[in-house]
């Protein structure tokens, strides 16, 4: 099953090879550098995915804490909100870099 999946994935990847044949400058969407939207989208997706995992772990800990000790709800809520915002800000740093790339001279 895994071998079939791996074979299918590699065939799909090889189908994308003709993309390298297009010329570099003035392609549709990009200004001078066609890799900027790719980098921005990929970087942002990676950052958002990992941020989602981190926030999920934080919420997991908070829910377990509330389930074990319902009296500590207020303290756990405060810690949860603070933790979520701090993890969120890491994904937002990547967003700022993505915007900086996209809105620069070589970007869109």
């Amino acid at each position: 099953m895994m071998r079939k999946l791996f074979f299918l994935m590699s065939v799909l990847m090889f189908c994308a090879i003709p993309m390298f044949a297009q010329d570099q400058g003035g392609a549709a969407g990009g200004g001078h550098n066609i890799w900027i939207p790719v980098a921005a989208g990929l970087g942002m997706a990676l950052a958002s995915g990992l941020c989602g995992i981190g926030q999920g772990m934080a919420i997991n800990g908070a829910c377990q804490g509330i389930a074990r000790n319902p009296g500590a709800l207020k303290g756990i809520n405060n810690a949860l909100i603070l933790g979520l915002v701090l993890i969120e800000s890491l994904a937002l740093y990547t967003l700022v870099i993505a915007f900086y790339m996209l809105l620069s001279k070589e970007g869109l």
Binding site: V85, E88, S89, L92, Y93, V96, F99
Partner: protein
């Protein structure tokens, strides 16, 4: 990528352009376009400050011990909330710093929320305003620490608890302290800017229900970010003022 100015900026540029140019020349700067020296975020900041001033003047004229009105109830709620948080974070000395916390909270809250009203632009959507607020927080917690412990002892607390760890702790502590205003400003700016961009993107795709859901999310995030800015400032002040019992 501002395509048009807010109506308030047009008003300012029409009447007060000479004043702004004179003010800029005082510092040796020159506006990009001398016919339009006022930017959106400056006029909106002044508007937010004026709104807060008028609100508090109104509140002050209606203060009463026996029969508090609804305005007084609301602000007592806010003040008790911030006071409680400050006492929780900093301990018994918290009440001395409430002024800065409350000012930052109410300013950032009103500045974030004013962008939701059509025709107004949130000043915190431009990087300069959150950097200004973060610099105030940074200078404040450093000043409080220096005031409490003296400049040399405050710098010495970066070295960590044990002296032989100092060469390792010193660069780490200094870099993490310098990263604080950066993280404060980027967090606030990115949340506000992204909230507006997401609403704009969805307004371009569909209309009414989905964009208003994202606008509601933006309002919630605006409230949360104002609270978090204030909470983090409190934590930094608590770290600077902390005593080893």
């Amino acid at each position: 990528m501002v395509t048009h100015e807010a109506w308030l900026t047009k008003l300012f540029n029409a009447h007060f352009a000479a004043f702004a140019n004179w003010l800029l020349a005082l510092f040796g700067q020159k506006a990009d376009n001398p016919a339009e020296p006022w930017a959106d975020f400056i006029t909106m900041q002044l508007l937010v400050a004026a709104i807060i001033l008028v609100l508090f003047l109104l509140l002050r004229s209606r203060l009463s011990v026996d029969k508090p009105g609804p305005l007084q109830h609301v602000f007592e709620l806010i003040h008790n909330f911030i006071s409680g948080e400050a006492e929780g974070q900093i301990g018994h000395d918290g009440h001395r710093h409430i002024v800065v916390f409350e000012t930052l909270f109410i300013f950032i809250l009103v500045a974030n929320l004013i962008g939701v009203i059509p025709g107004f632009v949130s000043p915190t959507q431009v990087i300069y305003v959150p950097v200004g607020c973060a610099l105030i927080a940074f200078l404040y917690f450093n000043w409080v620490g220096i005031q409490k412990r003296g400049a040399f002892k405050y710098a010495a607390h970066f070295a960590g608890p044990v002296p032989w760890l100092a060469p390792l702790m010193l660069p780490i502590e200094i870099i993490s302290t310098l990263a604080r205003p950066m993280s404060l400003s980027v967090r606030l700016f990115a949340n506000m800017y992204a909230g507006e961009q997401v609403t704009i993107v969805f307004l371009g795709l569909t209309y009414l229900i989905i964009p208003s859901v994202f606008m509601g999310l933006h309002v919630f995030v605006a409230l949360l970010q104002a609270y978090i800015f204030m909470l983090l400032t409190m934590i930094y002040v608590a770290g600077a003022v902390a005593e080893e019992h």
